[in-house]
């Protein structure tokens, strides 16, 4: 026997069909009884719009750029997410915060333009992991279908959450994440999530 890396390979058999096999009919009836038995089985289909599959609590869907409790954008345009992204889906342009814009942007530098190409994104969640400011999260929302490719490039208008309808990302915050957030020295935790989470614990 030749060298085998796994024990799964099989030697090809070229044996002639026996007289019984040449008749075909027994095999045909066997096959047909198998298909017939499936006639009485329950269908595995989930009828989508009416019926929805249960999503995992940590489902990774469309991103959200969070604001803090005062409504200021958390993102500081550090570019960590873009570097971490294996699909190179994220691009951004930075700008400096002017005086009087403190209520809009939490940090001195902010993302004037922030785009994620949803066709490139593989929803790995690495951007979320890389972000030092807890600005970007993946959520359990599903990216809409579009007719044009350009429409899949989501800008800040679609990504940044609105204060009137805030997006809950606590489900993505698994014990490890929470543990991480308690690390002393991570100042940015204290303001919003940190406080709430501490109350919870």
């Amino acid at each position: 026997m030749a060298l085998q890396l796994t024990n799964r390979s099989k030697v090809v058999s070229n044996k002639e069909q026996s007289a019984m096999e040449k008749l075909y009919l027994p095999a045909v009836f066997k096959g047909m009884s198998i298909t017939l038995s499936h006639l009485f089985k329950k269908s595995a289909t989930i009828r989508y719009p009416e019926q929805k599959r249960i999503m995992a609590p940590v489902y990774r869907g469309q991103h959200v750029l969070k604001r803090d409790d005062n409504g200021a954008e958390r993102c500081t345009s550090c570019g960590m997410c873009a570097v971490a992204c294996p699909a190179e889906a994220i691009t951004m342009e930075s700008a400096e915060r002017k005086k009087g814009e403190e209520h809009l942007y939490r940090e001195e530098k902010y993302a004037a333009k922030y785009e994620i190409n949803m066709l490139r994104c593989v929803f790995c969640g690495l951007c979320e992991e890389a972000c030092p400011k807890e600005a970007i999260f993946l959520t359990d929302r599903i990216v809409d279908t579009e007719f044009e490719r350009e429409d899949f490039i989501y800008g800040k208008d679609k990504l940044v959450e609105k204060m009137t309808e805030r997006i809950d990302v606590t489900k993505r915050q698994t014990p490890e994440v929470l543990e991480f957030k308690k690390t002393p020295g991570l100042k940015h935790n204290e303001l919003f999530d940190g406080k709430k989470l501490k109350e919870k614990h």
């Binding site: 075909y24 045909v28 096959g31 198998i34 298909t35 329950k42 269908s43 289909t45």
Partner: protein, 348 residues
């Protein structure tokens, strides 16, 4: 005379409408049945249970772009699907749908025409049908279409022989008549031809699968090897006609099998039922009940066709030829020989 003409015209229209309707709903049922066998749901969006799906499909076909390849032979390219469709419809003419009935002292046959060589007519028209495929495939000027057409025609030629011989054996058992009406009437006694001709039926059934280009003999359109086979170049409603005619063929061959081997519109204890219901010989209700029974058989056969299709993989071409020439033809000859000998001794 006028009543006769009107009756025949009405009957023609009804029967064509029924065969077209059945063909349309066969496409729906094919998809439904396939999905049941595969633990799926199948079309369920157009109307309740997806019942409007055939209409949607037909509408879609009409609105699709009509493409006639530049290099094709235009006349033949259009002739192909027409011929296929026309021959598919023509076969329904000789099929006896129910018992004769009396109305106003006249005898009406529930059959468009009872020609005394009905069986021959049927075989003849069916073999013209392959010209539709051949012409279409050749006129497309496409190698895949041509290959499909060649396969279709050689397959038809091979399987027609076995089918013909099986039919001869059947004709001997039913006393030498070639009229479908008489063949069915002969089975009125309660014993259907299947009892005398089980092997003949098997051969006929296999050949019918091959003649209608159904899996496992769908080598003519074999999408995994030949793109779309003979209709590769066809689009829009011309493609629709090809696909549709195949379902009509399936309907008609189911009807023929039910008539030849399973007594057509006869069913067990039919006379007892009619007596119990107080129906006299020649009542139209007898015809209609018989038609209902016949229709049930046809539907069962269509289901059988589909069941086979969604179970068996396609034959390889050499296997197909081997099966046709080396197995089915000898078998049908043996069947014929046995039938002849038995018939000779019984009739002496």
């Amino acid at each position: 005379m006028l009543a006769f003409v009107i009756y025949k015209a009405v009957l023609c229209v009804i029967i064509f409408a029924i065969s077209l309707g059945v063909a349309a709903y066969s496409t729906w049922w094919e998809r439904k049945f396939a999905s049941f066998l595969q633990d799926r749901v199948g079309p369920n969006r157009a109307g309740p249970f997806g019942l409007l799906q055939p209409l949607a499909d037909g509408g879609k076909m009409f609105f699709k772009e009509e493409i006639i390849p530049n290099v094709s032979n235009k006349f033949l390219f259009i002739l192909g699907p027409c011929l296929f469709m026309v021959t598919a419809c023509m076969t329904s003419v000789v099929i006896p749908w129910g018992k004769d009935f009396m109305m106003g002292g006249r005898n009406f046959a529930f059959q468009i025409t009872d020609i005394n060589i009905g069986v021959l007519y049927l075989l003849g028209v069916v073999s013209i049908g392959v010209y539709g495929i051949m012409i279409g495939g050749w006129a497309s000027n496409n190698k895949f279409a041509l290959l499909g057409a060649i396969r279709a025609s050689s397959q038809m030629i091979s399987y027609e022989i076995a089918m013909g011989i099986a039919v001869i054996a059947l004709i001997i058992t039913s006393g030498g008549t070639l009229s479908l009406h008489e063949i069915v009437e002969k089975q009125d006694a309660g014993v259907c031809n299947f009892v005398y001709q089980p092997l003949g039926f098997l051969i006929f059934f296999i050949c019918a699968l091959a003649e209608t280009n159904r899996a496992p003999f769908d080598l003519a359109e074999c999408e995994s090897e030949l793109v779309g086979g003979y209709h590769t170049e066809y689009s829009s409603m011309k493609l629709g006609l090809y696909l549709f005619a195949e379902y009509i063929n399936m309907f008609i061959s189911s009807a023929v099998m039910a008539a030849f081997y399973f007594g057509g519109y006869n069913f067990p204890f039919a006379h007892e039922l009619y007596n119990a219901m107080g129906l006299q010989e020649g009542s139209i209700w007898i015809s209609l009940i018989g038609f209902g029974a016949y229709f049930t058989k046809i539907v069962l056969f269509i289901c059988l066709f589909m069941w086979v299709r969604w179970t068996l993989p396609r034959f390889r071409y050499d296997q197909l030829m081997n099966l046709g020439w080396k197995v089915l033809i000898p078998l049908s000859l043996v069947n014929l020989a046995i039938t002849t000998v038995v018939a000779y001794y019984f009739n002496k």
